[in-house]
């Protein structure tokens, strides 16, 4: 602390880091209040990363105690240590100290939800067998009391071999101090005495241990018996040979899956414990319960789901608009300031068209993405995500996915990046990848400017019956995205990602008011990931596109422009002069772009895109849009010499009159429809590719997605143009 300061500041406020004396892991069922408790204990002293080789988030934080600090590792919410999902395998590996880059915890903090003791005790019992010291935090006691559940902690403790149990109310913080005080002693407390729920299994394990030469912990032998295809099972087979193990399994499990037999034994024990430790008082059905019950009926629930989704979209598209316009206006003002204060040239252009435009294109989508993230987190935290998955399961099953894909799919109508990040809730790996690859097809907000421009320019503003033709085309484009995405998921689930149907065994949590602190911490975390992973890519790409469009500079065009300006200034004055000067500058910018690397690239690939009816200008704009599709309208503005901030009307008239050298129109209806389809299906977004890379942990899937969608867009545009032109 500053020596001159005489003001007393509590140590917590200035964040002095005490020596971390021990590492504990916090574990519990999903929706048990574990995240809220973790945030309550650690506050903002958290770090997030990924476990090596998998896409499971690794959270840890420090708990500041009186004289020391404890590192707390937040393990994923799970129901059992079965090893089905990446979450469960990671939990086991971390607890047993087998996870690289993670300290082996000296003990566990098990979160037991008082309203769902049934599933909680199942996991707790498995954890006790791992012979690690632990204490239990009993959460949701207030909710339990309110719904007539009476739990005797003494009885529970007796059944759990004397484990310490601390009731806490995470909403009010009651009981938190007692829990904190106990955390310090966890590491030194003895491992719990395991309740005997399945004596045959322990006896069999002990018998096998006696026969092996190299020592193997009892928990490993038990896990090996329960999981015939695991690595542990292979290790055991190497030691003993296959026959004795197969014999032991037959005696224990007969012809049933080991986990099924395990579940029977353990839940038998859980039921016995609950019978003694928990009383359910008969409750009068309260008014709220009746309303909730009615809302859970099939039709009201489905209507409510669509109403919630409508609210999310309304928020994403209309609440964000003022912020987006503000960011846009700020970028334009800053570019204008640079243009007036710096001499024309590479530096001024780099700053205004490169850096500011680049930062602007990252930030302009941030309001929408922020709002979308916020809603996804609130849906998660309130427990509604599972309910939505339940309601939409039938629909998603028709393309081989489960209901858990529905929120990511819908989110991608705003932006594929948060949508792909939201696929982590899908436990089935193949279903998750299929969802990730389907998401970029949905019409995101970056596609709308180009749709709006081309539709306004080339689709007649006529009525078809009582529908508007322009509106119909836009609707058609949305449908194209949906069809493209769902067909892709369906095809992938039948070919590269074929596997057993994703099972849909899902607990449906009760509605809970989201915890503000948890929501804000998660929101900050996801925005940070977006800015780091996607934002940096968008920015770099914007700079590259700027350089391609700016270099090389032709001196002749520059001199020609200066001469034309001098001539105009002698011949004209007032408003006609201003208009003429703007025209000269736009013409010069178009001429410069025409001979820039981007213009050259457009000419180079023109033969490739000619069968689609595109000239070099359209080709150059499309190339510029591959890294980020939202730049296309601005590039077209420059190419067609109306300036990048041009009024839509002037660009529209230029597009309408653009011709091939032989005088044919470039923008015919078949060409425009093909171009629209290309934009609907092509993956023109480097940020999406970067996020697919992060979420699938390989380059294989982003490369596949890019190639597949480009080929699909090209083929579609080709067919429409070729067939349309012959009609």
């Amino acid at each position: 602390m500053n020596e001159k300061s005489t003001i007393y500041v509590p140590v917590e406020k200035i964040g002095i880091r005490r020596r971390v004396s021990a590492t504990l892991a916090i574990i519990g069922n999903p929706n048990s209040g574990k995240s809220t408790l973790f945030n309550r204990l650690t506050g903002l002293r958290q770090t997030t990363g990924n476990y090596p080789g998998v896409t499971v988030e690794k959270h840890s934080g420090t708990v500041q105690l009186e004289s020391t600090a404890i590192e707390l590792v937040d393990l994923p919410g799970i129901y059992c240590l079965g090893g089905y999902s990446a979450d469960e395998r990671i939990a086991v590996d971390v607890i047993l100290g087998r996870m690289a880059d993670t300290h082996a915890p000296c003990g566990l903090l098990m979160v037991l939800d008082a309203t769902h003791l049934y599933q909680g005790l199942y996991l707790l019992q498995q954890l006790m067998e791992m012979q690690v010291p632990m204490i239990v935090a009993l959460t949701m006691t207030d909710v339990a009391t309110a719904s007539g559940i009476d739990i005797s902690i003494e009885v529970l403790q007796r059944h759990l071999g004397g484990i310490q149990i601390f009731p806490v109310a995470t909403t009010t913080g009651r009981g938190l101090e007692a829990l904190k005080a106990a955390l310090e002693g966890v590491a030194d407390s003895p491992a719990p005495k395991v309740p005997e729920s399945w004596p045959e299994l322990s006896k069999t394990a002990d018998r096998l241990i006696e026969q092996i030469s190299a020592p193997m912990p009892r928990i490993d032998v038990i896990q090996a018996l329960l999981h015939p295809r695991s690595n542990l099972s292979k290790t055991l087979e190497q030691q003993l040979g296959t026959p004795p193990i197969a014999e032991a399994r037959l005696a224990l499990f007969a012809d049933e899956p080991p986990q099924a037999v395990e579940a029977r034994h353990r839940y038998q024990w859980v039921r016995d414990v609950l019978g003694e430790a928990q009383q359910q008082a008969p409750m009068l059905e309260r008014y709220e319960a009746k309303v909730l019950h009615w809302l859970n009926q099939p039709w009201p629930a489905t209507v409510l789901f669509f109403a919630i989704m409508a609210l999310v979209f309304q928020a994403v598209f209309s609440w964000a608009t003022p912020l987006m316009e503000g960011i846009d206006a700020l970028a334009v003002a800053m570019s204008g300031w640079i243009a007036t204060h710096l001499p024309d040239g590479a530096i001024s252009s780099f700053l205004s068209d490169g850096v500011i435009a680049g930062v602007g294109s990252v930030l302009v989508f941030l309001p929408q993405i922020l709002i979308l993230f916020l809603f996804i987190i609130i849906l998660e935290d309130s427990g509604y995500l599972a309910r939505a998955a339940f309601l939409m399961d039938r629909v998603m099953r028709s393309v081989g996915l489960s209901g858990q894909s529905v929120i990511p799919m819908l989110s991608s109508f705003a932006c594929a990046v948060p949508a792909i990040m939201a696929t982590r809730v899908i436990p089935d790996k193949k279903a998750r990848i299929a969802t990730i690859l389907a998401a970029p097809f949905m019409t995101c907000s970056a596609r709308l400017p180009i749709y709006a421009l081309l539709i306004a320019a080339f689709v007649p503003d006529e009525s078809v019956g009582w529908l508007n033709l322009q509106g119909l085309v836009l609707l058609g484009l949305y449908l194209l995205g949906i069809i493209g995405g769902l067909t892709t998921a369906w095809l992938l689930k039948r070919t590269a990602l074929r596997g057993p149907k994703p099972h849909f065994a899902l607990a449906l949590p009760e509605f809970r008011w989201p915890n503000l602190q948890t929501v804000l911490i998660k929101l900050l975390e996801r925005v940070r990931i977006f800015l780091k992973r996607a934002g940096s890519i968008i920015f770099i790409v914007a700079i590259i596109v700027w350089a391609l469009a700016y270099f090389p500079r032709a001196g002749a065009i520059e001199t020609g422009m200066q001469n034309a300006i001098v001539q105009a200034e002698t011949a004209l004055q007032g408003e006609p002069l201003a208009i003429e000067l703007l025209r000269i500058k736009n013409e010069a910018a178009a001429a410069q772009l025409s001979q820039s690397y981007l213009g050259q690239a457009g000419r180079f690939v023109e033969p490739l895109f000619a069968p689609l009816g595109w000239d070099w200008r359209v080709s150059a704009a499309v190339i510029a849009g591959f890294p980020a599709r939202e730049v296309v309208v601005a590039v077209m503005g420059t190419i067609y010499a109306v300036g990048e901030q041009a009024e839509e009307a002037s660009l529209v008239s230029k597009l309408r009159s653009a011709t091939w050298p032989d005088g044919r129109l470039v923008f015919t209806l078949p060409m425009v429809l093909g171009l629209l389809l290309f934009y609907a299906w092509c993956l023109q977004c480097a940020a999406t590719l970067a996020v697919i890379r992060r979420e699938t942990n390989s380059w294989r899937w982003p490369l596949f997605a890019w190639t597949y969608m480009t080929v699909l867009g090209y083929t579609g545009a080709f067919l429409i143009y070729q067939i349309g032109s012959r009609l």
């Binding site: 129901y79 059992c80 079965g82 089905y84 309203t115 769902h116 003791l117 049934y118 599933q119 199942y122 719904s147 559940i149 012809d255 049933e256 899956p257 986990q259 099924a260 037999v261 579940a263 029977r264 839940y267 038998q268 859980v270 039921r271 609950l274 859970n296 009926q297 099939p298 039709w299 629930a301 489905t302 599972a386 998955a389 339940f390 309601l391 939409m392 399961d393 039938r394 099953r397 209901g403 057993p500 149907k501 099972h503 849909f504 065994a505 899902l506 607990a507 449906l508 949590p509 009760e510």
Partner: protein, 78 residues
């Protein structure tokens, strides 16, 4: 009778689970095992998936898996 044939609001006790069918073990891990009392709460539109509660926890089950749970209805006098 199986869980599949239950009516909304009806209570029953699970008698036998065919654990060898795909997707059933996962439901057993969530606590749907022999001897437990369950209630069929609601279904999504079209009756699939079904929402079943066990010891106060609601669990989502697809109809296909529900057919692997034999149950006997519990008659309550309310």
């Amino acid at each position: 009778m199986t869980l599949r044939e239950m009516q909304p609001g009806q209570k029953a006790r699970i008698e036998k689970v065919d654990a060898r069918q795909p997707g059933v073990v996962r439901l057993m891990v969530l606590g749907l095992i022999e001897g437990t009392e369950i209630q069929f709460e609601n279904a999504a539109i079209g009756g699939d998936p079904m929402e079943v509660s066990v010891f106060g926890t609601a669990i989502s089950i697809r109809r296909q898996q529900a057919g692997n749970f034999s149950v006997s209805p519990i008659v309550t006098n309310e």
